[in-house]
Symmetry: C2
Subunit: 171 residues, 2 copies
């Protein structure tokens, strides 16, 4: 299902994909943000096989997104709690919820996020902290960071170079 | 790989997952935001098999995220261009890039987003448009929308209800 090796493992987006592990693991994270933490609660909510759920929880725990905590000794039972690293993933989930509501719910939302104290539904917008400008495909551009490899620099440079006039063969 | 049926298909996060289709499709979207549009350019960038790439591009086109446009007649060659719906997905990708840089690049970023005019690297923050308050797991809470089913309402209500004292059996 996944490419054998990402040509650019240093890409932060590819690294994020790798760290979360699987597409449907995002729904585990959604449930964790909704307050679920126990194996059987995730199982009921997601309707997936226990062995698959166990594998995904293990990956998310190995990635440092969940911390596993014993909450019962006999028999042993574990809760999966979001770490600080895991909680920091919330903007991705909130942005997905917002896109789903904007683009896939033409007749109105079924679930939305609201301010905890005010109760008003929020309209999530991604801005730059320093300038407070909205972050859109038009306003930002990818640039090499301090740790960029030569390959990454060449790639980002090629994106701003003019395209070839005669396109190569492709299916 | 995926659950047979999501217990709550009306969830905007689950709908988003379904619409994009596969985990690695996010890297196609990343590349599209970087400016790639041609089949062979995606293929080179991602290093995946042509049949797999074709299947993902078809799904993203069927979902209305890409529009396929003929750019050469003989032989026919297509470019995959982000639609308005596809471009609106950018905050998800930008939030993933930001998380990757914050959490997975302790020695510094390899790639980051910068303001197109100023050149300064951005620090993406998700805020509520109306109140300008940051959207965090602590500041917001999921609430039923106008189109919530009874099942959705019950589910969201149960999340705020007190937890049972004796946890059910689970592995």
């Amino acid at each position: 299902m996944r490419p054998k090796a990402s040509p650019l493992p240093e890409c932060p987006c590819a690294a994020t994909v790798e760290s979360v592990g699987e597409w449907w693991s995002l729904l585990i994270l959604r449930d964790a943000f909704l307050g679920l933490s126990r194996f059987d609660a995730f199982e009921r909510s997601l309707g997936i096989a226990p062995n698959m759920l166990a594998r995904r929880l293990k990956h998310l725990t190995d990635s440092g997104i969940f911390e596993r905590r014993l909450y019962q000794h006999r028999p042993p039972r574990y809760a999966y709690l979001l770490t600080a690293k895991g909680r920091d993933f919330f903007p991705v989930i909130a942005a997905m919820i917002a896109w789903g509501n904007r683009q896939l719910a033409p007749d109105g939302a079924s679930m939305q996020l609201a301010m905890r104290d005010g109760g008003q539904p929020v309209e999530p917008v991604l801005i730059d902290l320093a300038s407070a400008m909205p972050i859109t495909p038009d306003s930002v551009v990818p640039v090499p960071g301090p740790r960029a490899s030569l390959q990454m620099r060449a790639r980002l440079l090629s994106l701003t170079a003019p395209r070839p006039a005669a396109p190569p063969q492709n299916p």
